[in-house]
Symmetry: C2
Subunit: 210 residues, 2 copies
Amino acid sequence: MSSLPNSLKNISLFLERLPGIGEKTANRLAFFLLNLPEEDLKEFAENVSDLKLKTKLCKNCFNFTEKEICEICDNSERDQSIICVVETVLDLLSFEQGRIYNGVYHVLHGKIDPLNRVGPDDIKINELINRIKLSHSAKASLGTKITEVILATNPDMEGEATAVYISNKLRIKNSELRISRLAYGLPMGANLEYADYMTLKKAIEGRNKF
Amino acid sequence: MSSLPNSLKNISLFLERLPGIGEKTANRLAFFLLNLPEEDLKEFAENVSDLKLKTKLCKNCFNFTEKEICEICDNSERDQSIICVVETVLDLLSFEQGRIYNGVYHVLHGKIDPLNRVGPDDIKINELINRIKLSHSAKASLGTKITEVILATNPDMEGEATAVYISNKLRIKNSELRISRLAYGLPMGANLEYADYMTLKKAIEGRNKF
């Protein structure tokens, strides 16, 4: 590294802080930047510089947005009565890329994870409960009443715990609300031979009439 | 992507242009940037913006530098009479990280690759020949005379061709110059069982007295 000029070294050291990027990759990326057009670099630099100023969380669902309310919450063509609860905005994007869901979202920005000292109050669970409560209150005559919550946290230990916690909380407050969880089973195109036994167990438990 | 605000989308689209970074990784990196301190982002943006302005090629060896001559060429403790010829600055960094070589370098910035229309004149071969010629000329009483050239291009087809081309060119002009090539053989810690046969062939051909 000592043989790199500072102009490159600083960029390389910054890139090395990003997840999944080691020293060699950081160097390679910095060298690649050097070959890009000047104006593209300037534009990128401006975007990076303004990033935190411009990007906010949607007041409703905590998706990223440049306005007060994100595009999805602001879209009248989407079913505002179903909320899909996801851990991160990346999860939200996965659903959106498939165009398979026409409801709205609630981004928790994390999952309950006691080992890493993340409790229920550290993620947007209370905001979810309040959002649902508000939509059911007499005053909220303008908003759509929320009738279903799909718990789409990841199928790992912390994601499960988060889903259980939220469903318990919601059930106490609201008996008529439909609460669902994503289906477990074999992924499409999978090979039974290589499936793990937990997935197979879930696939058998959740078998459907054919 | 449509559900991302422009502030994030622009950064993500830029990152996607970098080698080895796809859409998902680009999104993940953009989100990660959002969590970094404001001042770090500003500093990085400034560095990116100034990158092309500040970074030049060393007039001597074509390493990256912010000055006219790079740190390595400018270092009087290094043996200026041996030149290690590499394809890229990344290769140079590999040698430097190991601190295994105390001579100087010459960066070709590519290799002869007819399929991709890269000929001998597209990389810094003429500059290498001139550099050596100059050090041997009567006028260059100040500089050190170059006595050895180590051809450290990669052991692939194009790297080999480049090494052969350069050695032929140099031998015509200069019969007293020592020209060497990196040794081929088994990498340290390798397992014979998994070595490819070309490597094994080279390891046998190049066997040493023990």
